[in-house]
Amino acid sequence: MEKELTPTESLAIIENMINKAKSNYSDDSTLYLLWGWVIFICSIGHFILLQTNIIKYPEYIWVLTWGAVIYQIYYILKKEKKKKVKSYTDEIVGYVWMGFGFTMFFISIIIGNQNNWITLYPIILFMYGTPTFISGVAIRFLPLKIGGIVCWGLAFIAKFTADIYVLLLLALAVLAAWIVPGYLLKAKYKNNSYEE
């Protein structure tokens, strides 16, 4: 027969368990790094191809993002299978990024074929900032919050930047918003600061 709990013991159990559940965010560093590096390579590559004029359609380098989409679908399906817990935070962060993905897809379909991507980059930069900042707030991770703010700042700078140099701002934005926070997040999980 189990001994009866005192109210203090009960509160200690509740507090302990709530804390264990609270610190349970899934490790999304792989996705930040995947997208960070893909966009970084595409934007720098696009810039170099435009400068050197070696191919007729330098914007085709962005086809690489489709590879990232396919890998992401595979990665998420694999991860879902292994997932032992679903937190509300993970769910909200997931939906925020899903909304961002749909918006980017919509933009690429509607405006992409009008061949005026460069004028859109300030908006795209601003859009990168929002889900990044929200994710940083949701999982209480400062580098993501800073990354989001950097994107917003770069969006304003992009408004006054001459044409193709905006591509370099894009590379800088993903470096600050996804690549650096991605590595820091990975290190944090490795050190078990977050429970998986």
Binding site: L5, P7, S10, I13, I14, M17, I18, V85, S87
Partner: protein
């Protein structure tokens, strides 16, 4: 002794399970076992009791040929937990006075 406290929740392991589930959307059996540091046998019994009381929902399925039990708290469970915490607060305030 603590007659106002819900006997279903006033047990070390059942209270731990409910407190864990209140903070997440759903959790599988192994996660709960790991976090509550309980044995599989005892955990199964306590999960069944919480399920019978209508405090949690239990879904059983197969993943890669292995059975997988997923638990989530119900509205009734959340309500019972809130009442339990209020009752606890009552006892703690009485202690202080």
């Amino acid at each position: 002794m603590f007659k106002d406290l819900d006997p279903i929740l006033h047990s070390q392991l059942r209270l731990a399970i409910i407190s864990l589930l209140i903070g997440v959307k759903e959790a599988d059996f192994n996660f709960i076992k790991e976090k509550t540091k309980s044995t599989a046998g005892n955990l199964s019994v306590q999960i069944q009791k919480l399920k019978d009381a209508g405090y949690i929902e239990v879904t059983k399925q197969f993943k890669d040929n292995y059975p997988l039990t997923t638990c989530s708290i119900t509205k009734q469970g959340v309500h019972a937990f809130e009442i339990y915490v209020k009752a606890l607060q009552g006892y703690l305030h009485t202690d202080k006075n």
